[in-house]
C-alpha cells in the first residue's frame, strides 16, 4: 500500500532466488535384485533395493529435485517404481506406473527417475508392475517443509513407521493363483511387518533352516524416546491386502497429517490406516519410562488370522533395556468388523483450519463407479460399472503422445450405473463382466467428482474395504456414507468447507466415498484400489487430461509395445 511497488518486486525476486538457491538435488543410486531375507524370521526371496527391504528412505526438502538411478539386476524380470503421493507435475513419465506412464525397465537396464517433491509430507514408493510390490520393493519418502515454512504443530523428534503384510509364497504363485480358474487364493498374510520386521508365529513348526527366530533381520524395531518430549510418528501402509489398525500402547496419538496434508488435530487411541495412506501423529512421551511399550499393527476389516505385528517403544534413561519385550500383551486393536469405528475416523479427518484449501464449489463432471466383484470365464475379477480393467500393452502415455490409436480401446468406459433400485447388499444376479483398457478423458482444467460405491461381493453378506489411490493428484474427500449413494440426495451433504486433501481414501463396506479433483496435471493417471490383488483383478480406471501439453517424452520409457523397436 504505502510500500513502493519496486521494493515489493525486489522482495519477491530475492525470495524466489533464495528458494532456487535452497532447492537441492538428491541423488540416489539403486540396484534392484533378489536376495534371501528373513523379514519375519522365515527365509524368503525378496526384491530388494541395494540389498534391503524396505528400501532406503528418501529424505528431501520441499522444492528439491529427487533423482533415482535405478539399475535392474533382476535376472529375467522387469521393474517399475511408483512415487506414491508425488504428483509429478511436468514429469508424468516419471510416475513409474507400468502400462500407464512407462514401459518396464529391463534386466541390465538403468532408468533414471527425476521429479520435484513440491509439497512437504509423508509419502512412499513401491513397485508398480505385476504384483512386485508385495515382493518387497517399497520404502518411504519424507519431505521436510521448506525452511521458514511453519507447520501447524511442534515436536521434538520424529520416527518413521512403514507397515506391511507379508507372505511366504512368491508373488508369482500369488498372481498365477489369482488368474487360475478356480481361483487359488494365497490367503491371509503370514506376518505383519513394521519397518520390514515381523515374527512368524509358527517359526518353530517349520522345517530346519527355514525359520530362524534369532535372525537379526527380524529383530523387532526399537523406537527410542526421551521422557517428556513430543514425537512425530510418520506412518505409512504399503500392505498388499490388509487394512490395519496401528497403536502405540499407553500413548494417545494426535493425528496431524494425512497424505501430505495438515489435519485438524484429533486424538485417537489407535489409528486405522489403509494401504497407500500415510499419516503423521504426535505422541507425548509421558508414561512410566522404566518399562517398554508395544507398537502394534492389527488386521481390521477382514477377519484376521495373522498375529499382531509388533515393535517396541523404549524410553531413554529408563530402567528397561530397549530390547526387553514390554511386560504386557500387545494391543489387539478394535473389533475387526467394527466398520463404524473406522468410518468415524475417516469422517473425522478434515483439513487443518489454517491450511484449508477450499474445493471448487461445483464439479463439471461426476463419475459414479459401482465397485463389484465379478466373473469372466469362471475367473474372479473386480469391475467398475461392470467393466474390469486391464492394462494395455503399450503404455497410455506413449500411445497417446504418438497417436497410436490401436494401442487401447478408444471407447470410454461408462460414467455411471443403473443406480436406481440397485441393491448393494445383494449378490449380483449376473456377475459376468467384460474387460476393457479404455480410459476416461477429462477436459483439461475441469473439476471432476468421483463417487465410489461399494457393494456386496460374490459371497453373500460380505463387503470389503477398498483403499482407492489416485496418481498425479490430490483430491478433496467430500463425503462418506454407508448404503447406496443417491445422486439426488447426497451431494447436498458434501463437506465443501474443510475437506481434507488426500491421494488415497477408504471406501468402507457397503459404503460410498465422494471425492473431487481438478484435472490440471497434464498426463495419464491411474486411479485404482491399492489392494494389489484387486488392481491385478481389474479394480481400477485411468484418467487422461491435457496430454497434448505433456512435453516430449523421454525415449527411455518407450521400449515396449507398439512404439518399441519390436514393432
Amino acid at each position: 500500500m504505502g510500500r513502493p511497488p519496486r521494493l515489493l518486486c525486489c522482495l519477491f525476486l530475492s525470495l524466489s532466488l533464495a528458494a532456487v538457491a535452497r532447492a537441492a538435488t538428491r541423488h540416489h543410486e539403486w540396484e534392484i535384485s533378489y536376495q534371501f531375507k528373513h523379514s519375519d524370521c522365515v527365509r524368503k526371496l525378496a526384491v530388494t533395493i541395494n540389498g534391503q527391504t524396505p528400501g532406503p528412505t528418501i529424505r528431501a526438502t520441499q522444492g528439491d529435485t529427487v533423482v533415482v538411478r535405478v539399475k535392474n539386476s533382476l535376472l529375467t524380470e522387469n521393474v517399475a517404481i511408483h512415487w506414491h503421493g508425488i504428483r509429478q507435475i511436468g514429469t508424468p513419465w516419471a510416475d513409474g506406473t507400468e502400462g500407464v506412464t512407462q514401459c518396464p525397465i529391463l534386466p541390465g537396464d538403468v532408468f533414471t527417475y527425476t521429479f520435484v517433491v513440491d509439497r512437504p509430507g509423508t509419502y512412499m514408493y513401491h513397485a508398480h508392475y505385476g504384483m512386485q510390490r508385495s515382493a518387497g520393493l517399497n520404502g518411504l519418502i519424507v519431505v521436510a517443509a521448506a525452511p521458514g515454512a511453519a507447520e501447524p504443530f511442534a515436536y521434538d523428534g520424529e520416527h518413521s513407521v512403514l507397515l506391511n503384510d507379508w507372505w511366504h509364497k512368491s508373488t508369482y504363485e500369488q498372481a498365477a493363483g489369482l488368474a487360475a480358474a478356480p481361483i487359488v487364493w494365497v490367503g491371509e498374510p503370514q506376518s505383519l511387518l513394521i519397518n520390514g520386521r515381523g515374527r512368524f508365529a509358527n517359526c518353530s513348526g517349520m522345517a530346519a533352516g527355514a525359520c530362524n527366530a534369532a535372525h537379526p533381520e527380524c529383530a523387532a524395531q526399537v523406537f527410542a524416546v526421551v521422557p517428556g518430549k513430543t514425537y512425530r510418528f510418520r506412518i505409512a501402509s504399503v500392505t498388499s491386502l490388509s487394512a490395519l489398525n496401528f497403536e502405540i500402547e499407553g500413548h494417545q496419538m494426535t493425528v496431524v497429517e494425512a497424505d501430505g496434508h495438515y489435519v485438524k488435530p484429533f486424538v485417537v487411541k489407535n489409528l486405522n490406516i489403509y494401504s497407500g495412506e500415510t499419516y503423521s501423529v504426535l505422541i507425548k512421551a509421558d508414561q512410566d519410562p522404566n518399562r517398554n511399550y508395544w507398537l502394534a499393527s492389527n488386521v481390521v476389516s477382514r477377519k484376521p488370522s495373522t498375529a499382531t505385528g509388533t515393535a517396541v517403544l523404549s524410553y531413554y534413561g529408563g530402567r528397561s533395556s530397549p530390547r526387553r519385550p514390554p511386560p504386557t500383551t500387545p494391543p489387539t486393536g478394535p473389533a475387526w468388523n467394527d466398520t463404524m469405528y473406522r468410518f468415524k475416523q475417516s469422517v473425522a479427518t478434515v483439513a487443518h483450519p489454517a491450511h484449508v484449501e477450499p474445493p471448487p464449489p461445483r464439479a463439471d463432471r461426476a463419475i459414479l463407479l459401482l465397485n463389484t466383484q465379478n466373473k469372466i470365464d469362471g475367473r474372479i475379477k473386480w469391475a467398475l460399472n461392470n467393466v474390469s480393467f486391464t492394462l494395455p500393452h503399450t503404455p497410455y502415455l506413449v500411445a497417446m503422445k504418438n497417436g497410436l490409436l490401436g494401442a487401447f480401446d478408444q471407447r470410454p468406459p461408462p460414467e455411471t450405473y443403473a443406480h436406481r433400485g440397485y441393491d448393494i447388499y445383494a449378490v449380483q444376479k449376473n456377475p459376468n463382466t467384460t474387460t476393457s483398457n479404455g480410459l476416461y478423458r477429462l477436459r483439461f482444467g475441469s473439476v471432476v467428482d468421483v463417487v465410489l460405491q461399494n457393494t456386496n461381493m460374490l459371497d453373500a453378506n460380505k463387503s470389503e474395504t477398498h483403499p482407492w489411490h489416485l496418481h498425479g493428484h490430490d483430491f478433496w474427500v467430500l463425503g462418506y456414507g454407508i448404503g447406496r449413494f443417491d445422486p439426488a440426495v447426497h451431494p447436498a451433504t458434501y463437506n465443501l468447507r474443510d475437506p481434507i486433501l488426500k491421494n488415497t481414501v477408504a471406501v468402507h463396506p457397503y459404503g460410498w466415498t465422494a471425492l473431487r479433483f481438478k484435472a490440471d496435471n497434464p498426463g495419464v493417471w491411474a486411479f485404482h484400489c491399492h489392494i494389489e490383488a484387486h488392481f491385478f483383478m481389474g479394480m481400477g480406471i485411468v484418467f487422461e487430461e491435457g496430454v497434448e501439453r505433456v512435453a516430449e517424452l523421454p525415449r527411455e520409457i518407450m521400449g515396449c509395445g507398439n512404439k518399441s523397436n519390436g514393432h
Copy 2:
C-alpha cells in the same frame, strides 16, 4: 554316360521342383505362461507353453520351415527360446539365445521365430534366458527324413522320450542362491521326469495338498509296443544338472542316431545321455508280452540322491494292463561313479559308415580351454582359461551389426592356458578369477579345433562331467581322453576317419574332449556347458564368424541394451 546331358538337367530340375513343392511351413502359436503343475505329483508353478510342460513336440520334415509365434504371457518376466540343434543357417537372429542373438521377449510381446530344419533328426527346444529352462519351458523337435531319403535303419514305429530333472524350488531361488556368497546350493533334484512326469519319493511326507500322488499329471507315461515289432525311441535330455543313464528293462538298445547324425550301430544295455544330447535307439519288442517293463532314468556322474525316474513299456495284446506297474524293481543303472563305463560309450559313438562326413584334415586354429571352478569375491564361478563368462547387456549380434563397440569387451579371451606341468588333479592354488564378455572372432570359413580340458573342482578329489553345446554348428568329435591333454601328443590320436558330428558332447571327469568345426555359418554363437547353473556361473564362450555376411537384422530382436529406444 550315354544319357543326353539335357535329360539329366531336366531330371535335376524336376527333382528340385519336387523338393520345393514338398517343403512345408509348419505354423505354431504358443502362449507362455505360469501354471500350477504336478509334474512329480508336487504342486509347483511352472513356465508352460499353451498350458503344458513339456511343450508340444514340433514335428516337421527335412527342408520345412518352422514358424513359431511366441506370445509372452508371463506377468513381469521376459523369455527367449533356443532351438537346440537347429543350425539357423541364414537366420542367426532366430537362435533364441538372450544376450547373444536377441533381446528377450517382453511380457505382452509377440516374437515370431522362423527357421528351416535342414537336417532330419531329433532335436529339442528350451528357454535360453536366465535359468528359465529349468522352470519347465522345453520340448522336442522331431524332423523326419525327406521323402525318398533312406535312413540306414528300419523300424515299425517310434516313440519319444524327453528326460529332465526337477526341483521344487523356483528358478529364482536357485539363481539367487548361486549368486550369493556363500553359495546357497539348491541341491540334487527332487525328481527325474520322463516326458514331464515323475513321482516325488516323499509325497506322503509333505503338507496336505502340496503333493497328490493320484494327480493325472504325474501318472507314468506308458509306451505301447506290438509284439515282434521294432521301435525307434528318440531320446533327449534337457536336464538342468544331471547326467543320466536311460534303460528299457529287458530290452537291448541299438544306438543309431546322435544329435541328428547317423551312428555306426552299437548295442547297449543302457544309454548314458548328457544334458543337451539326443539319441535314437532301436529296440525289438521281443520279450514276454504278458508283463510290463520299466523305462528307467538314473543319475550318473554325481552321487545320486534322487529316485529313479520311471515310465512303463507295455505290449499290445499282452495280459498285463498298461497301467500295471512292472513286477520288478526299476533298473538302477551303472555305478554312478563308473567314469570309464561312460567314457567307452562316448568313444563308441562314431559315424555310420554310409554317412561319414569326413572332417577337414587339419585346423586353422586350435583353442585349448581349461575348465575350472573359481571364485570371485567369495562367489563360486566357472571359468575357461581363468575367465568367467558374463553375457553383455546388448546382444552380440545386435552390437556387432550396429558397430556398438562399447557393448562388450573388445579384447579376445585367451586361446590357451599354461598347460605344461598344470596339475589337473589338484585344487587350484589361486582360484580367483575375472569375468569378461569378450568373444572369439573366427575367420569365416576357417577350421577350428577346440579342446576342452576338465580339472579338479574347488573341493579335493572332485571333477564333474560337463556337456558342452555349440550353437549354429555341428562339430566333429575327434577324440576323448582322461588326464591332461598334451597338444604335442594327442592330436595324433584324433579320429579323422569316421568321427561323429554332434552339437553337444561330454567332457568326462579329469578328461578332455577334442572337437573340430568349420566356421561357415555367419552369426554369433554361444558354446557352453549345458548344465544350466554352470553357464549361469560363467562356463561358456562365444564365437563370431562372418557377421558381416548376416542379412539385415529384424527390428524385433533389438528391444534392449544400447540399441533399444531406451538409449
